[in-house]
Symmetry: C2
Amino acid sequence: MKGIRQLAKHLDISIGTVSRALNDKPDVNEETRKRVLAAAEELGYVANQSGRSLRQGTTNVIGLMIEASQETVENGDNFFLSVTGGLQSVFTRHKLDLVMLPCPSDEDPHEYLKRMVARRVVDAMIISATQRIDKRIDFLSKAKIPFVALGRSSSGGNYPWIDLDFEGVAACAVERLVAKGHRRIAIAAPSTDINLGYVFVDAYRQALERHGLEFDPDLIIRVKSSEQGGYQAGTELLRLKDRPTAIILIYELMAIGLYRRMVEAGVVPGRDLAVIGFREEPRARFLQPTLTCFRLSLRDLGTKLAETLLASMPAYSALYPKGAQNTIWPLELAPGESDAFTITP
Amino acid sequence: MKGIRQLAKHLDISIGTVSRALNDKPDVNEETRKRVLAAAEELGYVANQSGRSLRQGTTNVIGLMIEASQETVENGDNFFLSVTGGLQSVFTRHKLDLVMLPCPSDEDPHEYLKRMVARRVVDAMIISATQRIDKRIDFLSKAKIPFVALGRSSSGGNYPWIDLDFEGVAACAVERLVAKGHRRIAIAAPSTDINLGYVFVDAYRQALERHGLEFDPDLIIRVKSSEQGGYQAGTELLRLKDRPTAIILIYELMAIGLYRRMVEAGVVPGRDLAVIGFREEPRARFLQPTLTCFRLSLRDLGTKLAETLLASMPAYSALYPKGAQNTIWPLELAPGESDAFTITP
DNA sequence: CTGCCATACAGAAACGTTTCCGAGAAGCAC
DNA sequence: GTGCTTCTCGGAAACGTTTCTGTATGGCAG
């Protein structure tokens, strides 16, 4: 005989009363409640989660699914750790715990998700790295499991998501460069398999057209989102005839590699080539000349994710009014020296 | 009425038999088992984890605790994701699931651990970023919760841990440099608060003494384990009178910053200064000249961690014989060009 | 036919918790 | 005294699963 029963016997009180006392339910004398709390503290009693979950049909655990994709591992940034900080700042207010669920690389992410959800180990899910067509979204919608996605997708119709403001960033970057007289603006981006590689480049194209500039497919340099990719992008850039005078990097870590390649070729970033990076990256912060880039708080993004998720959960939706369930997350321009290069006609 | 009961009714069989069929227990006709499995697949039945945990007293979940500590953040996500790959390769064989438990930065890691364990949400724990004195280890030992630690500690007496072979690496690096004629060998390391900053430098000192070289405290450059730290280390190095001819970097990411500082000063790594990095880091892989460093497979480290843990769990110890429960994980020298610089007397 | 074993299944208890239902006691108005 | 709340608590059911115990069946030896 363990658990709440022992605690009840120790207090000579029924287990029902003990349970109500511990869970801040009414129908329990204030003095009794104090006695119970004191005894629980003294005996180190903590409710068994399995029993509670079984009875309540809820686990009070939110899952953050993580794919150990090639890209994630290679980039090796603190993306998830930073986001979890924001998530937890919200969840702890509601006694919800966050667990990160790493999908084994040899298991289909969709199957993994199904397994985790079917076993009822979490109440709700946060998924990221969404594909343009993502079976997980269809599944979660149909199974009526509360979830929120970091990233848009064409799947599933209307569902809660948050995504970065690629359009805004691309427009801002292009406008800034055009204002400095640039006409041939290259862009380094990953392949179109990845949603970002598609959406961002499309936004770039639209921005160009708004400024009456022709869209030259040669100026799209498809490389990996890494330092090495940046180095390769530099090589590609140097090879282009009628060389561009500016380049937009879709992932800022590329800047480190690009700088290296430029220095090797005697091209000085900021003086001979304007460079703008997309997302702020701590490791690129010490570059000289400093990089013009777009900044966002991953922690704040995390809190917004959490709030969006809770708003979609019946038990919490009262506290987090169900406004727009989709958010385009804005980024802030952080001007640096890397795009100082100005074309004077 | 849901779950196994519905499945049993659908098959017109008792729930006991269904349960045994699903769990590969004896006392069930082979044909019946097939029928049950087929029906479960058809109806999409998956056992509710709460019910199962409650009955069995076991959750089949292993927790990997993650602290958003200084060191962790610098390592980045890829460190843990690589390790989880190895962990899961073992766990999946036993139908164990891995969850990562990120300790909120505003909660005491020890309290967080206690909470997770007391609620019986995991059967066992993997902890990392161990402190020289670590309350978690004492707690887990006393509570008889199976666990394994990545990193040594002075706490808790005899407990299962795995740690990297700092001594071996320091000895090998020093020996290699001494053989090339170097006499003044600097080392860039984090502060002694971090276990690594203490143990590694101590091993370096011992290695020097074995070769009859004097230990000069000025040659210990205390910087952060980051690119920026490497850059600072470069500045410090250049300032030293009787400048060292070689430097050992305790974290390879420093090399990127160090290289930059050296190039700025007209010092060519590998030609004018010998450089050896401690741990291989994908982000530093493209450096020129290539870095001499020590390599380890994080994935293999993960499998060893998992095996060590399972060996300490009664339910699995038969399969993973309890050998030495402590492992000094060896690293492999990956020779590059960065330490080609040789002193000829 | 009896006795005995092995096989295959049904039935029920148990895991620890929450929550529903009912009831005793006390207070108050009539 | 009766009737009606209000407060506090005890008892028991329920959550979904695993596992223990019992039992019917059939085969086989005696």
